[in-house]
């Protein structure tokens, strides 16, 4: 009888340890990052500067989509890193999130423009479809599919831990 009880106690403890061991050692888990592949939702949104309308058809190839706003403090901190990415020939599309047009343009004039183009999601409709909860957030797109979604500021550490392994694996942006 005592053997049975011991067996139960030990196996319960073992179950817990295995569970937490698997949980901690989950390579795919990174706080704020989502690696599930999903289709880029359909959208039709105007350019920040002009009346040109962008849609999902304009997103052929590999891009970063960066969600930003002039009211977002962290975006200002992130901005210099985006400029660095742009100088490494990584195409970034800006998704201006719930921002006044004038504020956004002033902000970009002041801090520089690392974006290939900026789409102006004033109502946050595309952002809601993308599962954006705030700014900044960054998506990695490959052939119309979202392969990485990161919630928060992208910096050297996040770039190397979250984005770079996927970029190397998928061999995009000439894997730099």
């Amino acid at each position: 009888m005592t053997i049975f009880i011991r067996f139960i106690i030990i196996s319960t403890a073992l179950m817990f340890f295995t569970f937490f061991y698997l949980y901690i050692n989950d390579d795919k888990y990174y706080p704020g990052a989502d690696f599930t592949t999903s289709n880029m939702p359909d959208f039709e949104i105007k350019d920040l500067y002009s009346e040109r309308v962008f849609s999902v058809k304009d997103l052929d190839g590999s891009y970063l989509i960066n969600v930003w706003a002039s009211w977002c403090i962290t975006c200002r901190i992130e901005h210099s890193f985006l400029a660095k990415l742009e100088s490494n020939n990584i195409p970034i599309i800006g998704l201006n999130y719930k921002d006044e047009k004038d504020d956004a343009i002033n902000w970009i004039t002041k801090f520089g423009d690392p974006y290939k183009y900026i789409i102006h999601d004033y109502k946050g409709e595309l952002a809601l479809d993308l599962g954006v909860t705030g700014a900044p957030e960054t998506f990695l797109l490959n052939d119309g599919k979202i392969i990485v979604h990161y919630r928060g500021e992208v910096n050297d550490m996040i770039w190397n831990d979250v984005f770079k392994p996927v970029i190397m694996k998928e061999n995009i942006f000439n894997a730099n």
């Binding site: 049975f4 009880i5 319960t12 719930k98 946050g124 809601l128 599962g131 909860t133 705030g134």
Partner: protein
């Protein structure tokens, strides 16, 4: 004491003034569905609070989206799927059965069985 009474009544009546006509619905059933749904869906920006408890901008957006989806005639299941596709499974307080949630669903029953077995065998000795 007067201040307390004043505060008491202002709190009670403020809920009437704020609570009414904040959202518009086609029918009372839709309204009921909406208020049930927002209690079952977690605000993605909050540590653990439902949409009903949250005023975060993203929660307000999701609430308007839910109303739009209800008006389009989507079922509760479709609305939940729509949101969990975008914000992840963690937005649902009651996540569906999948290989990621087996442990979550079956562990309590398993532990209960283990404990029952334990007492069952202990009494006999």
């Amino acid at each position: 004491m007067l201040i307390k009474i004043f505060l008491f009544f202002s709190i009670i009546f403020s809920s009437f003034t704020v609570g009414e006509s904040l959202y518009e619905f086609d029918s009372i059933e839709d309204e009921k569905r909406f208020y049930t749904l927002i209690k079952e869906i977690r605000c993605p920006k909050c540590t653990s609070g439902s949409l009903a408890s949250s005023n975060a901008p993203v929660s307000e957006d999701i609430k308007s989206k839910i109303i739009q989806l209800i008006k389009e005639g989507k079922s509760d299941k479709e609305i939940k799927e729509f949101l969990s596709d975008r914000f992840g499974n963690q937005v649902l307080y009651n996540p569906g059965l999948s290989k990621d949630t087996y442990f979550l669903w079956f562990a309590p029953g398993l532990f209960l069985m283990l404990i029952l077995l334990f007492f069952f065998f202990r009494k006999r000795t």
